[in-house]
Symmetry: C2
Subunit: 196 residues, 2 copies
DNA sequence: CTGTTATGCAACAATTTGTACTATAGATTG
DNA sequence: CAATCTATAGTACAAATTGTTGCATAACAG
């Protein structure tokens, strides 16, 4: 039994995925092939086929790599507006300035026909939702938001709009927009006390 | 000079695009090829290549066909909630029950790397936004919404969430959800009077 | 040092994508 | 109706893509 994996395996996987991710960003999914990754890395085509037997496998790995290339840190110190701007700021940065932003539309499309990719997105989204939910719950426990407010649709709105702008509508995400978006959501959350 | 196009051209284009759309829905983009459309229609492969010289052309035509396969009728009789439910109901039906819903994720993905497809989506979205904007403007002129409310972010929210649910998060769109979504937006629109 | 395992290389097969050419069937014009 | 375009069907072919296989070599583990 071997404790550590053969370093050759690790090196091959690492370099190949680095190159795949770069190709994915710069030239799109179609540019990610065993041949192109081989050319970019010097790794033999047959070795790449050993690691990723099909094109589908190779591209899926690149997707996974892109999806996990970003980090997201929750924050629930309050006030709600500050927490949401922190969280969404991370999301906006990820969409604007990391591989994920370039690649996400292609991953979303792949998810439409591929269940594995769908699963990647789902896990991903559940995390996003959870962090935002925690911010709302914290706001509730501070009394900032009434305890009987249903925050689920609010969470959805917070997250949906930036994704929609970036991935579907092709609109920009800047800090000014982010501020007004969060402001609107917060107003909705706190004014629901009166509406009830 | 010929007044009408050769009926053979029209017939070929029509039948080929019908088949392309069906393949697109049932088996995804990758299933749309000159060979598969030829097999499905009986049209010669060489004839298909005459009409659509590259695979890209063929698939793009299928996308366009899918995007224009739906109709959307505006309505501004008021009250706002009724108008929005009508508009979003059309959108939800389109996403759930027409080719567009099956195909939209793939079109969105293609838009990420193809400017022509991007243009299709943009036109498409502008129409959606315009219809919703008209509903809000009508509500303003009825005094239902204060005249100084900025409706742009509201429009975005109304539209973004159903698209996000369907295309990105893979969540269902049902009538019950629609109702509560519209309700939230309307509350936000009408309560902004007080907030000002 | 010895056996194991990953890699590199080359040859090859099958499929896909696109081109070129010819004959034929269908449409348009006078 | 006849002559003339014009689109399509069919075939053969070229090039690129997507894998597969076998073998020599180099790197790793015990």
């Amino acid at each position: 039994m071997k404790k550590n994996e053969d370093p050759r395996l690790i090196a091959t996987r690492t370099h190949a995925l680095d190159a795949s991710l770069q190709l994915l960003q710069e030239e799109g999914v179609l540019a990610v092939t065993h041949a192109s990754v081989s050319a970019a890395t010097g790794i033999s085509r047959s070795t790449l086929y050993r690691h990723w037997p099909t094109l589908h496998d190779l591209r899926n790995s690149a997707f996974l790599r892109a999806a996990t290339s970003q980090v997201f840190s929750p924050k629930t110190n309050g006030p709600l507006k500050t927490d949401l701007i922190w969280l969404l700021g991370g999301l906006v940065t990820a969409l604007n300035d990391t591989p994920w932003g370039q690649v996400a539309p292609q991953v979303v499309a792949a998810a439409a026909t591929d269940s594995q990719t769908r699963a990647v997105i789902n896990t991903f989204m559940q995390d996003r939702f959870q962090y935002v939910r925690e911010a709302f719950e914290a706001a509730k426990s501070r009394g900032e938001v009434a305890s009987d407010v249903d925050v689920t649709p609010l969470i959805e709105m917070v997250i949906a709009v930036p994704y929609f702008r970036k991935l579907i509508a092709g609109l920009p995400l800047d800090h000014q927009w982010l501020e007004s978006h969060v402001d609107l959501i917060c107003r909705l959350a706190t004014e629901q006390q009166a509406a009830k």
